[in-house]
């Protein structure tokens, strides 16, 4: 899966939870879920559960704690998909 496709899929996932619509429009690898998109910590859990469902992967606690921005989310998703 290329990066643009993955970012586009992440954009759809975070859309319902992002408070900052402008940051959502400009989402890129460096976008931070909390600081840029203003997703609160409770909704971050929903983002991760939606990622699990969308990609059919299981995110463990350690990965969850690292999944705070688009870049690390992409790394984790790619690693989990590769390990399947």
């Amino acid at each position: 899966m290329d990066k643009e496709t993955l970012i586009a899929q992440l954009k759809e996932i975070v859309k319902p939870y992002a408070k900052n619509q402008e940051a959502l429009l400009n989402i890129n690898e460096n976008t931070d879920f909390v600081n840029d998109l203003k997703i609160n910590s409770a909704n971050l859990v929903d983002v991760i559960l939606d990622v699990e469902e969308q990609f059919n992967i299981v995110i463990d606690n350690e990965s969850m704690e690292r999944m705070l921005d688009v870049k690390s989310a992409m790394e984790i998703i790619e690693a989990k998909l590769a390990a399947k």
């Binding site: 409770a42 991760i48 606690n61 969850m64």
Partner: protein, 148 residues
């Protein structure tokens, strides 16, 4: 964990304890009840001369049973750090019928998920006639105490 153990671990006390008892609990769902006593303070002002239970208190009944009781049960023997507590994070509830002073309500809560310290439940509150009073989804999380 027994119902009695769950109730003993509740972090609430009057006048803000809104669980009288639990009918049953397991890792998927919980059923509990509460009676709104006629002499409760809230009826003096909600509304003037026309006492009706405030929606926030109906929400609180559902949260204390559906999130806190079930959360305590799901944590089991896992001890929360002294600086940790429960926080309500979201509610999406429809209110269908009024609850008058003296009415007993029963909460039916079913776990949607409990992951990464967040518990989300589908909840229904019914009156003694078995009619839905309100229903929706609520979620809460284990958080660091805000004052510490």
């Amino acid at each position: 964990m027994t119902i009695q153990e769950v109730l003993q671990k509740l972090p609430f006390a009057p006048p803000f304890l809104f669980v009288d008892g639990l009918d049953h609990i397991n890792s998927e769902k919980v059923q509990g009840h509460f009676t709104f006593r006629k002499d409760m303070d809230c009826y003096r002002g909600h509304f003037k001369g026309n006492p009706i239970t405030p929606g926030v208190l109906l929400t609180e009944v559902m949260a204390q049973t559906g999130l806190v009781c079930l959360g305590i049960y799901l944590l089991g023997d896992e001890v929360l750090g002294g600086n940790m507590t429960f926080g309500l994070t979201s509610t999406e509830i429809e209110f269908l019928r009024p609850v008058f002073p003296g009415e007993k309500v029963t909460v039916y809560a079913e776990k949607v998920y409990f992951r990464f310290g967040k518990l989300k439940c589908r909840v229904i509150l019914k009156n003694e006639a078995g009619e839905d009073v309100c229903s929706g989804t609520i979620a809460g999380m284990i958080i660091t105490k805000p004052h510490e």
